[in-house]
Amino acid sequence: MIEPLKHLETTQVEPEQLKARFSDIAPPLTERQAALESARCLYCYDAPCVNACPSDIDIPEFIRQIAQDNVDGAAHTIWSENILGGSCARVCPTEILCEQACVRNKADECAPVLIGLLQRYATDNADTSSHPFTRAQPTGKRVAIVGAGPAGLACAHRLAMHGHDVVIHEAQPKAGGLNEYGIARYKMTDDFAQKEVEFLLGIGGIEIVYGSALGRDISLSQLQADYDAVFLAIGLGSTRTLALGHEEAPGVMSAVDYIRELRSTDDLTTLPVPESAVVIGAGNTAIDMAVQIKRLGAEEVHLVYRRGEEAMSATGHEQALARDAGVQIRTWARPDAIELDNDGRVAGMRFVRTACDENGRLVDSDRSFTLQARAIFKAIGQVMVSDDLAPTLEISGGKLLVDEKLRTTLSGVYAGGDCTGLGQDLTVEAVQQGKQAAESIHQDLMAAGDH
């Protein structure tokens, strides 16, 4: 139930149309398309795309395997570096990662090989009737992981491969983290997140304890006592506040919370949808929110950001997606006040126009404007919930401090994914950090075992 919007009507859009609007945004390649597209790969040496992939997938190799009709081999190449290669193929902003680096962008050609779609082709079509990886001899070591998002799952899989036993504590009733609860609905359809988790667990040796939250049901010190190592992959828990009055008024809510409901529901027609909405933010969450509420039937959707388009963290591709959906992007405006109707519900938002002074600092102008809106969605960034971790763990910039081996300041405790300050907050980064943490844990445990 979406408490802050329960006074609003549900969508007017026909169920059939809704279904179409939330179907696969980038449909999979057919066999023929995959054959043609894979033939475009130049099989570069020391390939720029590999350097651009945060998870180090040997891209030219897997594409060559597709071209040689070896789909199982291609998928194995992908999964051996990125066990969540299927979701990354769907959610990675390839336009700023591998595909941006593709040499076919140059050469008067300006058309990169569609690496993401080829990756999806391989992982979707490979034979997974038996799990493609086997476990090493049992080491007798046990590792606790907190959080079953991409980072936690990737870490668990790699640890299981090395022969360790893993227990994951997950606060939610389902695994997958933001793959399950956050990614735009049209980017990942057909319950893919759960299918992928099931595939990943196929390796064996991984137990997930659902509904078990660190700080509520378990404590870090207990985990340290019970396990040989602990990996924290709790993502980012809560949304930043606007620091304005009326933030608790009906009609104001966090974009991530709305999206969680949007992803979880079996029936989109039950969601409350405002006629007009304002989304505050400039990242992919803001874009996802704006596009999805528009597709759900909101007439007017404004995405408002206090700086210019070039400063938005959402990629150009994402911004174009929003514009195509009919979202109005307003830049150089800062939220100033939430306006309420007589019943105390959101009716609009007032903005102050901003500008950059000569030192590059954001300054208010004396102009302002008001946008009518029945709902205001906050997407100005997530912060880590650290109440249960500090002061034992050092925090830096609101995130867990780790070294390049993903070790926290507490011996035997590692962390990865969005909850650390490393890299960008992307699924593929989380997978990479989970994998790297597993390698560190493995090394440290085995080295300790020698003595």
Partner: protein, 422 residues
């Protein structure tokens, strides 16, 4: 506009693009459509003695490039499977309807004087312009003592050619099989027997690939297969070489030649003509794309001729023959070095890894501050092999630049490093 018309052993044709003896020339309907489309001539599908052979079902297979385009085409068909009398009647009709086009008839009968005598006389009565003796079919027919079984024995080639010249007054062209170790021997034999021209090549013995589930080669007939004859783009290099061998052989130099094998563009035709052919024959390209392809070939060839200032085919025919020589006459003092145009380089690294793993290590890879690689040629290590230029996916990015060594022409026979110097 360049004049594409030719005269071939007295046979006039409006252009040098002829259809090779094959299914597209197996009946009047097709041949007339080909003439309507603009082909300068055809060689009618090979006639034999009645009863006509019977073909099997499933007949072709192919070798594909990465984009699914056909690189090599393979067939196990025999000569025409229609009665002789029907073909002869249609040939007569067609020639009457299209007097300005070259109409040559391909023949293959058992290696007996009577058989050849009978059939050449029948063909002569149709009004056809000339004969092509099919001594090349590599599959099926040789098992019956015909086709390549004749073409591989120079004495037979000479004998049969002589019979044909003796019993008719038409020009006779002998079609060579490439399934020999040295094509000059049957070519010399053909001319000794009185041939007016040789045409080459017929198809190459081949197996294009296997069905690995059924463990049988393609094309599949039931649960079996047999080797076929391959043609198409893949055989062009073989055909060009064989043509050049005959063109520069002192015994056959200057003889009339017809180029066949993998011609699918105007450029391919220009290559055959530059190596001495007066006309070219096309089969695979027309089979795969239809007769309409001749339009682009004619247009391309004549534009290229205009650009080069060639008014007639004869103006450039054979121009590349003199430049095709034995290895021992190549200039040992000639030197080229690879040069990479950094503005065009897309950083794919293919040149580097090719040279690195192919023994020369002449292309350096250097990581720049922006994370990209800079590839540069180490001039002193480069042997000028062309490998990097070949593997580079960007047009004109790597060029081979001739160096001024200041040294005169010196071939291997003159080279002091040659232990067997004459």
């Amino acid at each position: 506009m360049a004049d594409l018309s030719i005269e071939f052993a007295g046979i006039k044709a409006p252009n040098p693009f002829w259809l090779a003896s094959a299914p597209p020339t197996d009946k009047q309907y097709n041949v007339e459509r080909a003439f309507e489309a603009g082909w300068g001539g055809v060689v009618w599908k090979t006639l034999g003695e009645d009863p006509a052979p019977v073909n099997v079902s499933s007949r072709y297979s192919a070798m594909y490039g990465p984009n699914g385009d056909v690189i090599g085409f393979n067939n196990i068909e025999l000569i025409t499977d229609r009665p002789l009398e029907v073909n002869l009647r249609e040939i007569e009709d067609t020639k009457r309807n299209w007097p300005d086009r070259a109409l040559i008839v391909s023949l293959m009968v058992p290696c007996e004087e009577e058989s050849w005598k009978r059939i050449v006389k029948l063909v002569e009565q149709t009004g056809a312009d000339g004969l092509e003796l099919n001594f090349g079919c590599p599959h099926g027919m040789p098992e019956r003592g015909m086709g390549a079984a004749v073409g591989q024995v120079p004495e037979y080639v000479e004998m049969v050619t002589r019979w044909c010249k003796q019993y008719c007054s038409m020009p006779v062209m002998v079609k060579m099989t490439p399934n020999v170790t040295d094509v000059r021997f049957p070519a010399r034999a053909a001319f000794r027997g009185g041939a007016d021209a040789v045409s080459l090549i017929n198809t190459l013995n081949s197996i294009t690939g296997l069905d690995l589930d059924r463990m049988v080669a393609r094309p599949i007939v039931g649960s079996q297969s047999t080797h076929g004859g391959m043609c198409g783009p893949a055989v062009k290099p073989i055909a060009l070489n064989m043509l050049a061998e005959i063109a520069r052989d002192p015994e056959t130099h200057g003889k009339l030649l017809c180029g066949i094998g993998g011609v699918s563009t105007w450029r391919g035709a220009a290559e055959f003509i530059s190596l001495g052919a007066t006309s070219v024959q096309v089969c695979t390209a027309a089979m795969l794309h239809g007769f309409r392809i001749v339009e682009g070939m004619k247009d391309g060839l004549s534009r290229w001729m205009d650009e080069k200032g060639f008014a007639r085919i004869e103006d450039f025919r054979g121009m590349a023959v003199a430049n095709t020589t034995d290895w021992k006459y190549l200039d040992m003092n000639y030197k080229v070095i690879a040069s990479i145009d950094q503005d065009k380089c897309i950083n794919c690294g293919r040149c580097h890894i090719a040279c690195e793993d192919t023994s020369h290590q002449a292309i350096d890879k250097q990581l720049l501050a922006d994370g990209t690689n800079l590839y540069t040629v180490k001039d002193e290590e480069c042997v000028g092999c062309n490998l990097c230029e070949i593997t580079c996916p960007v047009d004109d990015c790597i060029t081979m630049v001739a160096q001024d060594t200041g040294l005169p022409y010196m071939n291997w026979t003159q080279d002091p490093r040659n232990p067997f110097r004459e």
